[in-house]
Each structure stands twice: as C-alpha cells, then as structure tokens.
Amino acid sequence: MNQILANSLTLASPEIVLACGASLVLLVDAFLTDRQRGISYLLSMVTLALTAVVVASLPEGRNVGFSGMFVVDGVARFLKLAACGTVAAVLLYSRDYLRIRGLFRGEYFVLALFATLGIFVIVSAGSLLSLYMGIEVLALSQYALVAFDRDSSIAAESAMKYFVLGAIASGALLYGISLVYGVSRTFDLAQLAVFVQLGGASNIGLLFGMAFMVAGIAFKFGAVPFHMWVPDVYHGAPTSVTMLVGSAPKFAYFGLILRVLGEGLGGAVAEWQGMLIVLAVLSIAIGNVVAVAQTNLKRMLAYSTISNVGFILLGILAGTSAGYRGALFYTVAYVLMALGSFAMILLLSRKGFEADRIEDFRGLAQHRPWFAWMMLFLMASTAGLPPFVGFFSKLYVIQAVLDVGLTWLAVVAVLFSVVGAFYYLRVIKAMFFETAAGEVVVEASPSFKFLLSLNALSVLALGLWSGPLSDAIAKAFH
C-alpha cells in the first residue's frame, strides 16, 4: 500500500514542488518591502525551473497514480514542460511592465504559479473529477489575475464578465460530467472509454452529457459561440495578464479536450465530430471576419485567438492521431506567436501608454527596424505564411482534416485564413508604410529584448526546420 502511495507521490512530484514553491512565494512575499519584490520574482522562476527539472526526470511511458485519477504520459510531460517554459517567459516579459505600473506584487507570481498548477492537474487528469479540480484551480487564478489591476475599472469589468460567464461554463461542464457519470457510473476516463466502446456511444444520456461537456470546453477555449468573454478579457486585463491568459492555458485546454474527447469519449468520435465542426467553422469565420473591424491590437489578437482556436479544433475533430499531433503542433506554434505578439505590445508600452492600438505601431520600421521585423515575422506566421511555423501548423491540421475526407472544411478554413491575412497585414502596413505620429520609445531591458528576438526568430527557425518540434510531438504521443 505504501509502495503504491509512494509511486503516486513520485508521479505527482512536479505538482508538489510547484504547490510548495507557490506557497513559499506567498509566505516570503508577505515579509518583503516593495523594493525587495525581485526576490519573489526570482523564487517563482526557480520554482518553475525546479518543476521543469522534476517533470523531465519523471519515468518514461504511461504511468497511472492515485487509483487512476492521475496520469503521466508523454503528452502530459510535453504539455507540462511547455507550460513551465511559457509561464517563465511571461514572468520575464511582464516584469518591467508591472514594475512601472506599480503592479509588481507577490500576488501576481503566486497566481501565475497556481494557474500553472491548474494546468498541470488538467493535463494529467485521469478522471473527470481531477480534471474538474484542475479547471477550477486554473480558472480561479485567471479570474483574479484579470482583476489584478484593482484601480482599473475596465479590468474589473472584464474580470466580472469572465467570472460570471466562466461560472456558467463550469456549471455546464459539471452538469455534463454528472450526466455522463449517471449513465456510465464512472468518473475514470479509461473506464469511460471502455463503456463507450461497449455500445455506450449510442446512449442518449451520454450524448446529452457530452454536449454539455463540449460546450464547457468550447467556453474555456473561447470557441464561437462561447467566445463572448475573449475580446473583453483580452482587452480589459493588463497586457501582461492578457499574455498569460492567452498563452499557457491553451496547453491545458488542449490537454482537456484530448483527455475528455480523445481518450474518454474516443469511441464516440462520430458523435462529437459534428459538434466540433460547427464550433470550428464558426470560430474561424467569425474570429477572422470580426478581427478585421478592430483597431485595438489586443482586441484584434483576441479575435485572432478565436480563429486560431478554430484551427486547433480542426485538428482535434479529425479524431486521428495525426490530427491530435497536428493540433498540439498548432497549439505550440500559436502560443509562441501569441507570446511574441503580446511581448511586442509590452515592448512599446511605457508609463501611461499602453501601445495597444494598431496605430501605435506606426513607423516602427523607421525607428526600430529590428523589432519591426520581429513583429513582421510574428504577424506573417500567425497569418499562416510560409516559411514561418504558423504555415506548418495550419498545414498539419488541414492535412488531418483532408485525411478524414472533410475537403469542404479544409477549403472553408483556408479561405477564411485569407480574410485573416488582411488584418495581420494591417499591422505590417502600420509598421512599414506609415510614419509615426510621435517618437517611438523602447525602454525594455536587454533580457526582454533578447527573449523577444529569440521568440520571434524561433517562429522563423521552426518553420524552416520544423523536424525537431514535430519529432518531439510524435514522441510525446508514442
């Protein structure tokens, strides 16, 4: 018995390290003065690094702990490492932004670490209960983060919206879980998969529950028609929080949809494929079309997120392992590009100036050609132009869709990506073809600039040479 518990604890060691680290930051931060706040930052970074090391040292293959509640497989390890790296990058990116605005406080780090913990629990969930627990840990951290700038009414408003809508979605998800449990008498995803295989796929109660779960997941992802919170939250939250909300959690939601639909309800792919097709088409269409009308870059990126989520769903809905791999590749590429794009906004922002309108990027090519090129890489990649990684991510998911015979869906997706190209071009247009109204000031630290350049160049490098990333993903699914 003790041996089994010890095994489970070993599997959960990254989460334990992370939780302890987060608590330590919380504790230490209480005794720090504002000038010593850097210590909390460092401690958070160390926690993330330690966690990543522990994740990397977990045993290979698929291991199950806590009576099936907790799964550690290749995908979980991959997603956890990716989440650690992403959150660390977000913390580095946001340091100056927060400091200038007087938001450089311990809660930010604690919440970010707990959000990471939520991500970890979701991607390792072996049961619908642990899954739900992870979702709530992540969601509550995010609600609080969005409202983090407590003097900003717009941030408070968006946090309120996020919380209310998020609570409804959580309710829908939980309702779906309870229905599925009522029919299948199990929370365990592996047992659920067996139940579905043995004819449960045609059970009307299961399908009813599944529909609610899909709706809940779609809300988390921000897929149309459950997308209403996305633009407001992206726009209202402080940019560094937007960056966090818009990046690492995508790994968690990928894990969520993979665990629930891919593993638990994998046998019912014919049933949920139709739902995801509707979500994907609507997201790609509405995301791209509405983004054209935006003048605020954060809002535009929010709609761009919605359309990108549609593309991730394309990979998932194929229901094949190539589709899941493609969707994960897409998620990684998307997070890289989202990180870089929001970092560009942070780069240009300064005290009293958010740099979150497209016009704030005017004339950047003249004053800061290097960063204009970095932004060009990021925008062109998000638009899906070769040779950037965004092209290959679209290639993988479209290939997966074509492979299951949904040619019309592939055509719809690429046609709307042409619409999408327009608004990314607008940013490039502002940077390269127009002149700045005032001076362009860049006050970022060298480490920020270095990370941003690395981030943008990796978008190019992973496009020219995508082998290592796709190999790593293939290995994760092996």
């Binding site: 090519a365 132009l385 290639l395 082998g467 190999d471 293939a474």
Partner: protein, 502 residues
C-alpha cells in the same frame, strides 16, 4: 564541378540580402556595392549552370536532395530541367539590372530596398528549382512578403491599396493550390513532384485539382477576369518592383501551368482547355483594347503584359486541340516552346519598357502620357531604345517579341483557324497601343518645357538598356540556343500530357 549550384543560387542572394539589410544605410554606398556584388555573383553562378546543363536530356539536373520535414515526407529537393533553366537565368539577369537601375534613385531606406530584391531573387530561383511540391509552395508564398513591402514602402500614391490587393489576390489563389497539394500528398504519400506525376486520379478529382491550381496560376499570370490586381500593382510599384513583377513573377503562373497543371492533371487540362483558350483569346483582344485607351504609361504596359501573357496560356493549352485535329504531337511541342520563348521575351521586353518609364519618371516625376511628347529631340539615345523596345513589344520580326508570338500563332493554326485569327489580332492591337504610345511620348515636336529640359541617358541607364537591347535582338535573330535547351524537356512534358491518368 560538384558545387550545389542551385542551393547557392537560392541562398546566396537571401543571405546577401540579410547582410545588406544589416549594413544599413550608413554608409549607403557600401550596401549598394555589396548588393551589386551579390547579384553579380548570382549571375556568375548561373553561367556554369547553363554551360554544364545537358540540353539533350529531359531529366532533372543539378539535383540536390536531403530530408527536410520527415513527418510530411517532404524533401529539400532541388533540380532543374529545360523549363526552369531559362527562367532562373532570366531571374539572376533581371536582378542585376534592377539593382543597377535603382543605383542612386532610391532615397528612402535604400539598403532595405536592395535587400528586398536580393531576397526575392533567391526565393524566385527557389520556386523555379524546387522539385518538391511543399518546398515549391513555401518559396512561392514566401515571395509575397518582400513584394508586399517593395510596393508598400517604395510605391506611388495609392501604394497601400495596390499592395494589399496584390497580396490578397495572390494569397487567395495560392491557398486553394495548397489544399490541392495536400490532397495529392495524402494520395501519393509524398510531396515529390515525380511521384505526383505518376499518381492516378479520377476525373472529378482531376477537375477539382485542376481548378485549384488554376486559381493560383491564373491569378499570377494573370488571366482575365482575375487580372485587376496587376495594373494597380504595376502602376504603384517602384520601377524595380514593376520590372521584377513583369519579368519574373508573372512567369511563375506560366511555369506553374507547365510544372503542375499539365503533367499532374492531364485529363482535366484536356477537358477544360476550352476555358483557358477562351479566356486567353478574350484577353488578347479585350485587354489589347483597354491598353489602347490608357493615359498612364505604366498602366498601358501593364495591360500589354496581360495581353502578352495570354499568349503564354494559349500556347500552354492549345496543344490538346492540335493533337485532336492533327493526331500528332509535333504542333504541341511547338506551342509549348512558343509559350516558353514568349515568357522569356516578355520578361526582357516588359522589363525594358518599365525601365524606360522609370528613366522618364525619374526626370519629370509623372507617368502621364500627356506630359510628354518629342522626347527624342532632347533624349536621342533614350528615344532609340524606347522605339526598339516598343517594336519588340509590338512583335516586330527580328526582335524577341516576334518569335514566341509567331510560334504560338503558327501552332494555333493547326488546331483551329479561328484561334489563330483571333490571336493574330494582337499584331494589330499590340502595334496600335505600342506605336501610339511611342508616337505620343517619343516622337513629334518638343511638347513642353519639362521635355525641353530633359537630359539624355547617363552611363548607368545606357548600360542597363543597352544590355537589354542586345538580349532582345539576339533572341529575335537567333533563338535556337534557347529553344534547344527546352526541346527535350518539352517533348517529355508532351508525353506526360498525353498519358491519361484515369
């Protein structure tokens, strides 16, 4: 000679372009000379490409192949045959001319201007030498970004409208081609072009794939009715941009037909050839008439480009009708080599005409035909060149413009008298709009003070136009070296076209 020539030709300009950009505008002289050196080096490397090319063979030569994206079974696979070789040489040749022509003209961020053209050069060579469909697509699309910037940064007053229109038109066509390529990959298990050539396809599949390819290539050529981006892009682009656009980028559409549409979907191409032929003939007549009424010199040449490129598409697709009528493939080869010669010739002639307009524009800063008149009085050398290139554009025998058009008209006769009769109308419309342009701009008495103050060509401009004039006349008098290089490849292509894949 075991140098990876194609890789050098692709990546040397790209890396050179990045270096030029990093050098920046201080001092601009250094950036300029480095850019020239890189483009000359690329031209130099294309000499052994031509001399070591085995013209008797239709096989891919100078092949380089290494794994690129293993999960997609796509290789970094380069190789050229008789279709690619002349286009690659045209690319390296034009880039040198463009860089010399813009030597001291560009004032805004000149180093980035040169860099954009060098990067374009590398990507265009990549398009013409890719033997892997995915690699081809990557080069094909990657080219859009530098061209987008060239038109948008250094273009005229309505440059932003023009460049976004250019981008979205070509992007829209290309994404459909991408879907077709992925579909083919899923059936063939590889992006290798040779594998796609052998892949059997049912008729509905071929028809849809053909139409997807058609969307991409017809926009690029451009064919009526998707040609409207071209006049805008040409008019607003800086001189160098217009030259590259006319001389090389339009050729990619024709190249795509020869490399993808005809060999991959031969049955659909046969079935739908009436569509292409009809659109081509419409373009010859209708666009010729539109060109006649233009008041902007660049717009006139842009429309004339569309009419001339219609000959290329006619030459590519009239072959099936020739075989249907005569039962022999000889006329088909003639039509295809006519299309190729027309592409190269149009690259030289339209490039030269855009450079001529550039010469005038640099002096008087207007492209309005009405602002000129009697230029030959103050610029005799320039006048002589412009008349020569105008004649070539009108298809005067002895110039390169004649050869391709003649071959295509000759081949069309074997298919249907009326094809040839309508196509030959270009001799009237082409002569009309070109000669009228010459008359209004170059000939006659000096029209105004602006023209009276014009200075004739400087040495740099003389060099550029002189080299082009030699090329135009040489090709017109003795096109045999060119047609010899292409002959075996085109024969092989005709074979691929005639084998049903059903």
């Amino acid at each position: 000679m075991n140098l990876p020539l194609l890789s050098i030709l692709t990546w040397l300009p790209v890396i050179g372009g990045i270096v030029v950009m990093l050098i920046g505008d201080r001092p601009v002289v250094l950036a300029r000379w480095v850019a020239l050196a890189v483009s000359l080096a690329a031209l130099g490397f294309s000499v052994p490409l031509w001399s070591h090319f085995d013209a008797a063979s239709a096989a891919l030569q100078f092949v380089e192949r290494t794994a690129w994206v293993p999960t997609l079974h796509s290789d970094y696979h380069l190789g050229i045959d008789g279709i690619s070789l002349p286009l690659i040489v045209l690319t390296t040749f034009s880039t040198v001319l463009v860089i010399i022509a813009s030597w001291s003209v560009i004032e805004k961020r000149p180093s980035q201007y040169y860099a954009a053209f060098l990067i374009m050069e590398g990507l265009m060579v990549g398009v013409f030498s890719a033997a892997d469909a995915l690699l081809f697509y990557v080069f094909w699309e990657a080219m859009l970004i530098p061209m987008f910037l060239i038109i948008g940064i250094w273009g005229g007053a309505r440059r932003i409208y023009a460049t976004i229109k250019f981008f979205l038109y070509t992007f829209l066509g290309s994404v459909l081609m991408l879907v077709a390529l992925i579909y083919l990959y899923l059936k063939a298990g590889s992006y290798d072009l040779a594998a796609l050539y052998e892949l059997p396809l049912s008729r509905p599949e071929q028809t849809l794939i053909f139409l997807a390819f058609f969307a991409a290539f017809a926009v690029k050529v451009p064919m009526v009715p998707v040609h409207t981006w071209l006049p805008d892009a040409h008019v607003e682009a800086p001189t160098g941009g217009s030259v590259i656009l006319a001389a090389i980028m339009l050729k990619m559409g024709g190249y795509g037909f020869l490399r993808f549409s005809l060999p991959i979907t031969p049955d659909a191409a046969h079935q739908l050839d009436w569509l292409v032929i009809a659109l081509s003939l419409i373009a010859v007549v209708y666009i010729g008439l539109i060109a006649l009424v233009q008041t902007d010199m660049k717009k006139l040449i842009a429309y004339s480009s569309i009419a001339h490129m219609a000959f290329v598409t006619l030459g590519c697709f009239v072959g099936y009708e020739i075989v249907a009528v005569t039962g022999s493939a000889a006329g088909e080869t003639l039509a295809l080599s006519g299309a190729m010669v027309q592409m190269i010739s149009h690259g030289l002639v339209s490039g030269a005409l855009f450079l001529c307009v550039g010469v005038l524009y640099d002096r008087l800063h207007t492209r309005d035909i009405g602002a000129y008149g009697g230029v030959i009085n103050t610029m005799p050398y320039f006048g002589a060149f412009m008349v020569l290139f105008g004649m070539a554009n009108a298809g005067l025998p002895g110039t390169s413009g004649f050869v391709g058009e003649f071959m295509i008209v000759l081949a069309s006769f074997r298919a249907n008298f009326w094809f040839a009769a309508v196509a030959a109308l270009t001799l009237i419309t082409g002569a009309a709009y070109t000669l009228w342009l010459i008359k209004r701009v170059v000939l006659g008495p000096v029209a105004n003070e602006g023209v009276a103050s014009l200075k004739d060509l400087n040495g740099r401009e003389f060099l550029v136009l002189g080299v082009l004039a030699i090329a135009v006349i040489a090709m017109g008098v003795y096109p045999k070296p060119l047609t010899d290089v292409m002959e075996p490849t085109l024969r092989h292509l005709v074979q691929l076209m005639s084998v049903s894949k059903l």
